[in-house]
Assembly symmetry: C2
Homo-oligomer: 421 residues x 2
């Protein structure tokens, strides 16, 4: 069983919106062994919707369409599919009840277009919308298109995601014949070319059913190792062997072999060790704190964060000395060290990280250019004393990339220090 | 002139990566009046690359391809196009020099695959890669495909973006015949259905060359008003008239009619008024500070942020009283007010915002469910006294959506208070 994904919407073609629905759907299908062959974005013009769906039904067993089921006037998918398959609409009471309840809970009045939203294409399996109003549909396209399924879902991500998880994936899982195992290898501190050379041996001798992709991101590169087959055990064994071979070639750069972010790995390690963390941020502006607190349960280890943009705040909140600021400048390892120590002492945390640097675009000098980061980690030692050390980095991105890379360097420094200890 | 965008990469089809390149390219083409008809993502299997490019060359005048020009082994685009057009590769000295310089600056050794990366398809216009190594190409596909252009670029966003801005857009601008004006209408505090009803009159009577799209996002909905035509002045006039009509129907919900984020509007307003801001965050965990400091130049108005996750931090950093925490709980308007006042006083800022709430998934109770947010704004008045008020919201997302919506509510509250004052 092979799938195509069709994303409908002029706003996608104009670049006003990033398509996050297609990767979500692709991942979900991958987890039940259904590979995606094409992702197509087309206009919400009815003729374009029809011709794109027809083209996909010619080669794909399963075509998933998002967009065009909501309450506003530029929604046209349902009508296009109705005409394409020559079917009528029928009223779906359960959807109507959900829609009425949805608006009631939000204290909004019930509008005329509500009944229309509760209509589904006849002969379809309605897909309840637990996060919004318009229901989705799973349509067996016979006789017009034999052995083909069409799934219609709204374009709003939360609504589509709930439909995929609760109805669409459970529906197609028994129909999918193969098994896929994807394992990410998350690395830090190494670029794509360097990593490729490190693991060239493994890549040159990949087993037949395994592929390897590089996923460069703002702060480094990750790998995805994918193994296909029909026997679950053989697939998992082959996949695990490749992962072990890669890790053995690049051990010091690998921080996880699961779909975990650096902050997730870090928060879980802190909680496992019963340690608390605090952060003092200048150039990262709260991003480190925000990333740590993105992790559910982070309140068990995250005590506090201080975003000290001004020199005054560095002094009053962290106890950085005016003399150090004067002598070395705000962007210096000396200031980073005092920030980290001050943060550790004032918060009572077990480990603290501090950042001071120049995210850009302004503020750079010949001596301290845009992209420069001074970073310090302070750690409470077994004997009650405080150990601290500092590092300087130089990044080459724009402001938002630099903020991400700075925060990545800080999280990485925390993780490395914890692994040593 | 009409364009297709082709994104190549198994990692996109597997959902391991979100396609941010296509919207960037679409926006850039839109700015010079070239509409995008389709965005197709295909596998990096050479046969799939060839058939997808051929299909697009049949209907589109211009086909832009990203992916498959980097240093690693899964890169196959250049070879596929070479075979498709029956052309050889030629050595491009300028690219080689840039590649050698790129590695030299980063202190890395020069590798064997470097010379290969400097090869371009004969007869193409090489596109310098100012952010990386492999050059792009603009290829006139005659005689095999007459009047068709093919543009090949790497998949790494920063490299592709620089190529579009510096070479590709300037190359195609003189060849594009029409003019497009897109104007966003950014709203806050109103849902899609409500907004649609508010502006139904305008939407029902849109002029012939103007379209309207809804762009729902985590914290609300925005509109995009697009006007097409050949005469720049007429296009701009028609677009402006529609914008004015929409704003007149929904004035209190519109915060910008440009592509500005809420934080950009806020930072610029603060700087314009000569005011400073500080933030005290519990449930938003640093996200408000991070968003404000994402804006270049924000150091002129942003003094400091405090992320007080624990009750101890709320007391020691913001002076929240233990009695208030005890009586009303950490998630309460009373605590939010004390946080905002404490933040204002201790930072010396002119305006401060504080958040305390339950982002989830854990921590909710019947009385204080997940998604509850208490928010307070404190403001220094003309007479030196401090005014403060609080609000309670209830959101319906997962942890990360709630964090975004909470931060949006806080930025919006700051903006509303400043507009009143």
């Amino acid at each position: 069983m092979k799938a195509d994904i069709i994303s409908i919407g002029d706003e996608l073609l104009k670049g006003h919106r990033v398509n996050t629905n297609a990767p979500f759907i692709a991942k979900a299908l991958g987890s039940i062994g259904i590979p995606v062959e094409r992702i197509v974005t087309c206009s919400d013009d009815p003729e374009s919707i029809r011709s794109t769906i027809v083209a996909s039904l010619e080669t794909a067993d399963l075509v998933l369409v998002t967009g065009g089921l909501g309450p506003t006037k530029d929604d046209r998918t349902r009508r296009s599919v109705q005409e394409l398959l020559g079917r009528r609409l029928t009223f779906y009471q359960d959807a109507y009840d959900r829609i009425a309840e949805f608006f009631r809970r939000r204290g909004r009045e019930i509008t005329d277009d509500m009944r229309d939203q509760a209509m589904v294409i006849e002969g379809s399996v309605p897909v309840p919308n637990t996060k919004g109003t318009a229901p989705g549909m799973i349509i067996d396209c016979a006789p017009r298109f034999g052995n083909r399924y069409l799934v219609l879902m709204p374009g709003v991500p939360t609504e589509m995601e709930a439909m995929m998880n609760l109805t669409v994936i459970p529906f197609f899982e028994p129909l999918a014949g193969s098994f896929i195992r994807h394992t990410p290898v998350m690395t830090m501190g190494i670029g794509e070319s360097m990593l490729a050379r490190r693991i060239a041996d493994v890549e040159d001798h990949l087993p037949e059913h395994t592929t390897l992709s590089y996923l460069p991101h703002a702060a480094g590169v990750s790998l995805m190792v994918s193994t296909y087959g029909t026997a679950r055990e053989a697939v998992e064994r082959e996949n695990r062997q490749v992962i072990e071979a890669i890790v053995s070639k690049a051990r010091e750069f690998v921080y996880a072999t699961s779909d975990a972010s650096l902050e997730e790995v870090l928060v879980h390690l802190l909680i496992e060790r019963g340690l608390t963390v605090a952060v003092a941020e200048s150039c990262t502006g709260g991003l480190i704190a925000s990333r740590l607190t993105d992790v559910p349960g982070s309140s068990a280890c995250f005590l506090q964060g201080m975003v000290t943009y001004s020199n005054e705040a560095k002094q009053s909140l962290l106890g950085v000395s005016p003399g150090t600021l004067e002598r070395h400048g705000a962007v210096s390892e000396h200031v980073a060290l005092e920030m980290a120590r001050g943060c550790l002492e004032r918060s009572g945390a077990d480990i603290a990280v501090a950042t001071t640097g120049i995210a850009g675009p302004g503020g750079g000098t010949a001596e301290k250019p845009v992209g420069m980061l001074c970073l310090a980690v302070a750690l409470r030692m077994g004997d009650g004393s405080v150990g601290a050390d500092a590092l300087t980095f130089s990044m080459h991105g724009d402001r938002s990339q630099n903020k991400i890379r700075f925060s990545e360097a800080a999280l990485r420094a925390l993780l490395e220090r914890l692994r040593e200890g």
